[in-house]
């Protein structure tokens, strides 16, 4: 290596010997002038750097925006990996840009690079803990990481956070995501609570009511579900989906007359809706085969009881006992006992007999319900008339 300062000239430096006095006098006389000159130089240098910095920042902003736009386009096109590169490049020119960082985090999350995304999002959250978008993204990250407590925390924060545009819609969407997550986690109680809170403030939007109704159905809150479907029908009377939903809810709740009406409308609106058609059929059977209905004549009630008794008898015969299954059979409804009871009662179940002895209707129907429940336990879920009888038994206080 050459010497560090070979160009040093002995005459160029001022020694501390003969020239010292001269220098000090020089300071004494010219210090103000030197300071003025230095100040002027500093101002000029400062102005020059100001000009340079404007050019620099203009270029940086332009490059940042260019790469950000490219990243957004990539992300929208589903090329999250390219979007990550573009957003990284954009951040190089605007390191603390909130939007760039958020987009990068979203792209990283789309690539399932959750740790990286989380790091960016947590930084953003520290800067703006009230930002709904960031909080929601963090909630989604923790959903992916199956960290329920953290996910709940950030989802709840997102629901009550600040949103730049359409805050109600955003909050509703966040709560809906939370409900979906809770349903995935099989936490129906928490999901139901969120749904009730959500339903309290819904806009008149039929599809939204339909969706909320469906979610209420999933958490087995049929009353609120029915309410939501009715709200949907208030907005759109012809909505087959709303009628089907309301029919289902009413059916499950045991309100077969309402169910029949809704389901009939649903099937009429959408003949391909076989599920509703089936339920409609069952609801019809329930209504037809219920001997405890009001406003039916005694002879009709007797005919219904006889039909029910025969149906139950046939079901009992078709469902032979399977000892190897090891199913526990209640002693009161033991297969043989039921068979014997059915055979004993059979001769008396006539129109005349039922008319003479009104208590026989109750006895016959009790046996019918017992047979249907027993055979369901033995032979699986019934269909058709047997199903209707089972539902009637539930309707009148059975299990």
């Amino acid at each position: 290596m050459p010497p560090l300062s070979p160009e040093i000239q002995p005459g160029e430096e001022v020694t501390a010997t003969a020239g010292e006095d001269r220098i000090l006098r020089w300071y004494a006389t010219r210090e103000p002038l030197v300071l003025v000159v230095l100040s002027l130089m500093a101002v000029l240098f400062f102005l020059a750097v100001t000009g340079l910095s404007r050019i620099y920042y203009r270029q940086q902003d332009s490059l940042g925006e260019r790469w950000y736009s490219r990243g957004v386009a990539d992300l929208n096109a589903g090329h999250a990996d390219q979007a990550v590169g573009a957003f990284h490049a954009a951040l190089r020119y605007s390191r603390d840009n909130y939007g760039y960082q958020l987009s990068l985090a979203q792209a990283l999350a789309a690539l399932n690079r959750t740790d990286e995304a989380q790091a960016y999002l947590l930084n953003l959250w520290e800067r703006k803990p009230e930002d709904g978008t960031v909080t929601l993204e963090l909630g989604r990250i923790f959903v992916k990481k199956r960290e329920k407590d953290q996910a709940l925390r950030y989802y709840h924060n997102a629901i009550y956070a600040t949103w730049a545009d359409h805050p109600d819609n955003r909050r509703r969407a966040a709560r809906l995501e939370l409900v979906d997550f809770l349903l995935q986690e099989n936490d129906q109680t928490q999901a139901q609570a969120e749904l009730i809170a959500l339903a309290a403030n819904l806009p008149p939007d039929s599809p939204l009511h339909l969706r909320i109704g469906g979610l209420f159905m999933q958490v087995q809150d049929y009353e609120h579900a029915l309410q939501q479907y009715r709200e949907a029908l208030t907005i759109d009377r012809r909505s087959s989906a709303a009628m089907a939903g309301a029919g289902h809810a009413a059916f499950v709740r045991g309100n077969y007359e309402s169910a029949q009406g809704y389901l009939a409308g649903a099937v009429a609106g959408d003949p391909k809706d076989t599920e509703s058609a089936e339920l409609l059929h069952t609801a019809g059977l329930v209504l037809q085969m219920d001997p405890f209905r009001r406003q039916i004549s005694a002879s009709k009630r007797s005919r219904i009881v006889i039909e029910a008794f025969e149906t139950a008898g046939a079901r009992l015969k078709s469902c032979s006992p399977r000892p190897e299954s090891g199913a526990t059979v209640p002693t009161t409804a033991d297969q043989e006992t039921l068979d014997s009871r059915w055979n004993d009662l059979k001769p008396r179940i006539t129109e005349l007999g039922l008319r003479r002895d009104p208590d026989l209707v109750d006895s016959a129907m009790d046996l019918v319900f017992a047979i249907e429940r027993q055979t369901r336990a033995e032979c699986g879920g019934p269909a058709g008339a047997d199903l209707a009888l089972l539902l009637i038994s539930k309707l009148h206080g059975g299990n």
Partner: protein, 594 residues
């Protein structure tokens, strides 16, 4: 029997104080005022140096960014650019360094030290300009170097040019380069305290109010200017960091050990390869930066472009836990390789940023591995990365104080101090144990210079008076004793020189012959006090450096060493022979150690 020098107006000698400056100074009150005027002016000038250095560093940062945009592209660089940019630019840089800016090689720290200790503060402006251009090209094209050390030299160069223009005295000229260096480093790091500490710790090597005032003023003014243009944000986005459980210090100690070993590998690579490359034929120097650039480009093409350039963005990502521990380890290793290649090839650029990079990767990596085995550890990746930066700074650059304050200043969090202290201490001790000479000292010696080693100065065993003094076997006379009685007591001692304890304080000496002569003149009844000269012996204390004794032993054959608590209580005596013997023993010991 006149004893020269050693007394002040009050008659009490003050050997403990440094002698007054001997430079020819102003001899009249008006010139004395001028001296104060110069000191004041120097402080004002320090502010201007800070402003100019800050502006220069801002321009330097712009230049690096522009260089990167035009050489590597504004986004992720293509394979062609990754290969061509560092290698072709390396070729251009070699031409510039060999033919236009021969002083621009290296980091800039040693050059600034040389300006202080060899060239009376002279740093050619041409060197500063050359460093600006070549370092901006090198860093922008992807060479694994940083902008801090060049900024330090640019600041020193500007300050030196200003000082020459203003015809400052030699003393001021020597100081002006470090003042500019502190300004440049502070602006580059956005960390004024660390910059001041580094310059004091590694360049100047001593503390004094005059130096500290100037260095602080220049550092602060440069940072203010830099923040005006580039914003006040730290170099990295710092997540919440801290120490939750003191037991986790063990984990940081492990990081310190790893950092110490990595520092040794890094330093050994540089100190081994650099002289070998320098020994190659001169024509190869045209191609060394290009070859280094080519290899770094290949590292980039093979999947680790993160090691190219200063790497602040990558450090930022590591701090935020965005890499796996495997990748962090790979990046740390490749960065060591890339930086060694860049530096030993003579490409101008600094080692601060690469050191921080390696430390951050190593810290985050070690932290992640520790988390695998001990999931209950609470330190985040950011905490480990930050501590890791300090660890490499302490282990590689061997600036222990700066390393601690650098982390504190960058993190803005005092709660990280314990992990930093623990880890840095381990790294520093391991590095010192395995690599006795600090990297900057080795580089200096490889360049054929012998600049003072600040670490050696810090660690130097100072010989003290107590190491050379002898027990006082000679009789001590009191100044109220008559001469006749004194000679009776003196005759019992073989020593010709006798010590006299003066009242109320002080010591004097007299010889037997002098007493005999005065008795023969009929003065036997007189007290010693009445015949002794007014000027007393200097006194020494056992803890004082032996150098101080050396100033007096040539004038007095025997000097009392007294207690600091009671000046009349003698602890021993010291003579010229005692001092010289002790120095001789020390020299022999040092040779044995070598």
């Amino acid at each position: 029997m006149e004893i020269a020098a050693g007394t002040q107006a009050g008659g009490v000698p003050q050997p403990g104080r440094a002698p007054a400056a001997t430079r020819p100074g102003p001899s009249s009150p008006s010139l004395l005022r001028s001296v104060f005027r110069e000191e004041r002016f120097f402080l004002v000038l320090s502010v201007f140096i800070g402003v100019f250095s800050g502006l220069a560093v801002v321009c330097f940062r712009f230049a690096i960014d522009w260089s990167r945009i035009y050489l590597l592209g504004s986004g992720a660089p293509s394979t062609l650019r990754l290969i061509l940019a560092p290698s072709v630019t390396g070729l251009i840089i070699a031409m510039l360094v060999i033919h236009v800016f021969p002083q621009a090689r290296g980091s800039g720290v040693n050059q600034t030290k040389a300006a202080l200790y060899i060239y009376n503060g002279y740093v050619p402006l041409r060197t500063a300009i050359g460093k600006f251009i070549t370092a901006a090209l090198a860093i922008g094209s992807g060479h694994s170097l940083g902008p801090e050390d060049p900024s330090l030299q640019i600041g020193a160069g500007l300050a030196s040019a200003l000082g020459r223009r203003l015809h400052l005295s030699r003393d001021r000229m020597r100081l002006i380069a470090p003042v500019g260096a502190a300004a440049g480093l502070a602006a580059a790091f956005n960390a004024p305290i660390s910059a001041v500490l580094f310059v004091i710790e590694e360049v100047i090597g001593r503390w004094s109010a005059g130096i500290l005032g100037s260095v602080v003023l220049s550092a602060v003014s440069s940072v203010v200017v830099m923040r005006w243009f580039l914003g006040s944000e730290s170099l990295f986005r710092i997540p919440p960091v801290g120490l939750v459980r003191p037991g986790e210090l063990v984990a940081y100690a492990v990081l310190g050990v790893a950092g110490g070993l990595a520092s040794v590998v890094f330093a050994s690579g540089i100190t081994t390869l650099r002289p070998r490359l320098k020994a190659l034929p001169r024509w190869t120097q045209y191609f060394q930066p290009a070859a280094a650039g080519l290899m770094i480009g290949l590292i980039g093409v093979l999947g680790a472009p993160q090691v190219m350039g200063a790497g602040y963005e990558v450090i930022d990502q590591a701090i935020h836990g965005q890499f796996t521990w495997q990748f962090l380890g790979i990046l740390a290793g490749l960065k060591i390789v890339a930086t060694i290649l860049s530096f030993v090839s003579g490409t101008p650029g600094g080692m601060f940023a690469p050191t921080l990079f390696i430390g951050a990767m190593l810290g985050a990596g070690v932290g992640d591995v520790e988390h695998l085995f001990f999931p209950h550890l609470t330190g985040s990746a950011g905490t480990y990365a930050l501590v890791g930066m300090g660890v490499l700074f302490a282990g590689f650059l061997r600036a222990p104080m700066t390393s601690v304050f650098m982390v504190l200043e960058v993190s803005g969090n005092y709660s990280i101090i314990l992990p930093v202290l623990v880890a840095n201490t381990f790294a520093y001790l391991i590095s010192r144990g395995l690599q006795p000479a600090p990297i900057f000292d080795v580089l200096t010696r490889q360049d054929g210079l012998d600049l003072p080693s600040m670490e050696e100065l810090r660690e130097e065993n100072i010989l003290r008076v107590e190491d050379a003094m002898q027990p006082a076997t000679i009789p001590v006379l009191d100044d109220d004793q008559p001469l006749a009685e004194a000679i009776r007591q003196a005759e019992k001692s073989p020593s010709e020189t006798l010590l006299v304890r003066m009242s109320p304080s002080g010591w004097n000496s007299i010889t037997k012959q002098q007493i005999r002569t005065m008795i023969s003149e009929g003065k036997g009844d007189l007290s010693l006090r009445s015949v002794l000269p007014i000027r007393q012996l200097p006194r020494l204390h056992p803890d004082q450096p032996l150098d101080i004794a050396l100033r007096y032993v040539h004038e007095w054959p025997l000097i009392p060493v007294v207690s600091r608590a009671n000046f009349r209580q003698m602890e021993g005596v010291i003579s010229r022979d005692n001092v010289l013997n002790r120095y001789r023993i020390a020299q022999v010991d040092a040779k044995d150690l070598i």
